[in-house]
């Protein structure tokens, strides 16, 4: 199969859809000849013109509000926010408007829009351009939240997001843009709410999201040398969450480590851990659930400190080993 980058997969997913469906258009800052902050839309304005690849003023609230207005009248907008941190500026439109309109209109209104936005640290973009705030979005009923980790997944999940009639928050990780993978040329869809087992194993389950999927896979390869067999589960979508796949995996391994780049406190890992605590898998646990997440600090500009603020491969290995060394003891 043909290999392309995660970034090219995002662009291809949009371009193919825009050729098929005239109602789809993109709006965002500098997405025209500039090609977007990370170059995702480069070349698209040449093919689709300035009306369908629409440069906007620096006006996140209006970008979101305009997308909602257009969606309510039958268009299918994709809005690109340059950095996911800027969701803060469009928060009312996302939280109080997009997420709620279908419900408030008794099912007689819909907001089929995809908010695409690059998230995460690792590019030296510092405190206001590097955060992972996806847990906020998962807390809002009415939204769907997607966090693809591979080129294959990002293309299929974006297709599903564009086909979805609900507002979808689609987090692309900046450091994943250049990663390559096998991606079919034709359009395909990966259902939202279907986790993927990225590596099968028997001793410990690691549930990891976005870039942490790759770090977990690296950790698994290291641990394999020591005879420890890791199963890596990538939920791919946080809302809806494929709890069944995670539960089944934990039943098999009896140990769970949850890893995300977002600050651990209040992060989505807490939701995954709670889902296991509430499920049949709880009885199967041989050790307490371990969460690995970012430190509760703003992302530093200094590259060494930046790395220290978010989980790295050794942190994951250490967490796995702690889990293996701890046992739940029954007190008499």
């Amino acid at each position: 199969m043909r290999e392309i980058t995660y970034l090219e997969a995002v662009r291809e997913a949009m371009s193919q859809e825009m050729r098929e469906n005239k109602d789809v258009f993109i709006l965002g800052e500098d997405i025209g000849v500039y090609g977007g902050a990370f170059g995702v839309t480069r070349g698209m304005i040449e093919e689709f013109g300035p009306e369908r690849v629409r440069n906007t003023p620096i006006s996140e609230s209006a970008i979101a509000g305009t997308a909602i207005g257009a969606a309510l009248t039958g268009m299918r907008p994709i809005l690109e926010l340059q950095f996911s941190d800027f969701i803060t500026i469009s928060m009312d439109q996302i939280v109080n408007q997009a997420a709620k309109l279908r419900y408030m209109y008794g099912g007689k209104g819909k907001v089929p829009m995809v908010l695409r936005t690059p998230a995460g640290s690792g590019t030296g973009a510092a405190a206001q351009h590097s955060q992972s705030l996806e847990a906020w979005m998962t807390h809002i009923p009415g939204l769907k939240v997607v966090q693809p980790s591979t080129a294959y997944d990002v293309k299929g999940l974006l297709k599903a997001a564009m086909d979805d009639d609900n507002p979808v928050i689609f987090y692309e990780h900046k450091l994943l843009y250049k990663t390559k993978g096998d991606v079919p040329e034709e359009q395909y869809s990966i259902p939202l709410g279907k986790a993927d087992i990225k590596r099968e194993g028997t001793d410990v389950t690691i549930v990891a999201t976005a870039i942490m999927v790759h770090k977990a896979l690296e950790a698994a390869a290291e641990l394999d040398k020591e005879g420890i067999s890791i199963e890596v589960v990538d939920p791919r979508t946080l809302v809806p969450l494929d709890t069944d796949t995670i539960v089944e995996s934990v039943k098999k391994t009896s140990r769970l480590v949850v890893v995300h780049e977002a600050v651990k406190r209040g992060g989505y890992g807490g939701e995954i851990a709670s889902a296991i605590a509430e499920s049949d898998a709880f009885d199967y646990l041989d050790a307490p659930i371990k969460r690995v997440g970012g430190k509760a600090v703003p992302i530093p500009y200094n590259p060494e400190l930046e790395k220290a603020a978010v989980p790295q491969v050794p942190d994951i290995i250490e967490a796995v080993k702690e889990t293996l060394n701890k046992r739940i003891t029954t007190h008499a």
């Binding site: 207005g69 907008p77 069944d244």
Partner: protein, 360 residues
């Protein structure tokens, strides 16, 4: 160095067609309306005044929920709506229920909206409107999007959105105008300046002498209109609409008006921030009184006709409340089913749980 701020407001002299005595003061601007259309405007204003009185009473009896009184603002609300066509799209604020009704929302559904029943927000097919926005100013950026959608589809129609003077302090107000301006989208932004954002007078909200001049910064057309003069509001909106569909861009219309009642029926007492003198000054400008004088002068209106409208309004309101009462109660399963196009697994579980409870 040239100072620019002085006398900006002089460009925004209030546009008026008939004065407080019902006399035409601007013959040139008189809209081309038939006698029947003029009478229809009066009919709608009288009807809406009665609807407001009945709604307040029903709210006090506990038979309506959230309600924002409209008396005083009829000319601003109905004059602008009268300039619209069926294809035009309304994005109202929470006081703008009358425009929805005259755009096609059945009265009983307006009552259901007040009661928080979802059917009140289910716009009938062909009624191009959103439900009243509750977040101040949020509808303004959405209006830019609706207008953009219309432009892209080549529709000869406009998006019209309403807010009050208070809404013009929101960032969304500027962002929405600026967006629509940048794309020359067919949008009309109506600001009903009723002089108070709940309790804060407009002079304390902004240093701008007029709200219409806020259009200048966005590079769009702005006009200040006598919001108690239904013909002036109609003419200004009609003009904005024509320019919008001709690709000449959006317009900001500030209507100078007044709400006689409280901000909403949820415990506001305007005597804490308004004087009797101010109330009296504005009641002299009343839109119904002046338009009645104008029509009587033309021999188009009589007490008999007015009474007929009042009786009709009362009858229809009674029937609409009855119909609202007959609506099936909302069920938790309904609410769950409206969340997403397809139920995610966690909501499927909740659905089963409540289906069982509701079957008992």
């Amino acid at each position: 160095m040239k100072r620019t701020i002085e006398n900006v407001e002089s460009q925004f002299e209030m546009f008026q067609i008939i004065n407080e005595d019902g006399e035409i003061v601007n013959q040139e601007a008189m809209p081309n309306l038939s006698d029947e259309e003029l009478k229809e405007l009066m009919h709608r204003m009288v009807y809406t005044r009665i609807l407001d009185q009945r709604s307040i009473a029903l709210n006090r009896q506990g038979r309506l929920g959230f309600y924002a009184p409209t008396a005083g603002q009829e000319a601003s609300q109905l004059g602008s709506q009268f300039a619209l066509e069926k294809d035009d799209f309304i994005l109202p604020g929470y006081r703008d229920v009358p425009q929805l009704i005259w755009h096609g929302l059945p009265l009983y559904q307006a009552f259901l909206f007040s009661r928080g029943h979802f059917h009140g927000n289910q716009m009938p097919e062909g009624v191009n409107a959103l439900s009243p926005q509750i977040i101040i100013g949020a509808q303004i950026t959405q209006a830019a999007g609706v207008a953009l959608g219309m432009k892209k589809r080549g529709k000869k129609a406009v998006a019209i959105t309403y807010t009050g003077d208070g809404g013009t302090s929101q960032g969304d107000f500027y962002e929405g105008m600026n967006f629509a301006g940048a794309y020359q989208a067919p949008a009309i932004f109506v600001v009903q300046n009723n002089r108070f954002a709940i309790s804060v007078p407009v002079e304390k909200q902004t240093a701008a002498q007029t709200l219409a001049q806020k259009a200048v910064a966005a590079g769009i057309e702005g006009i200040q209109v006598d919001g108690m003069d239904v013909l002036a509001v109609y003419a200004a909106t009609k003009d904005a609409r024509e320019r919008g569909i001709n690709g000449e861009g959006p317009t900001l219309i500030e209507t100078l008006t007044y709400r006689y009642g409280p901000h909403t029926m949820a415990g506001d007492d305007p005597t804490r921030y308004r004087t009797d003198d101010l109330d009296n000054e504005w009641e002299k400008k009343d839109p119904l009184v002046r338009f009645r004088k104008f029509l009587e002068g033309k021999g188009l209106w009589s007490e008999d006709e007015e009474n007929k409208v009042i009786d009709q309004a009362k009858e229809e309101i009674k029937a609409a409340i009855k119909k609202a009462d007959e609506q099936p109660k909302q069920k938790v399963t309904d609410l769950i089913s409206y969340m997403y196009e397809e139920l995610p697994s966690n909501l499927k579980e909740q659905m089963e749980e409540y289906k069982e409870k509701e079957s008992k």
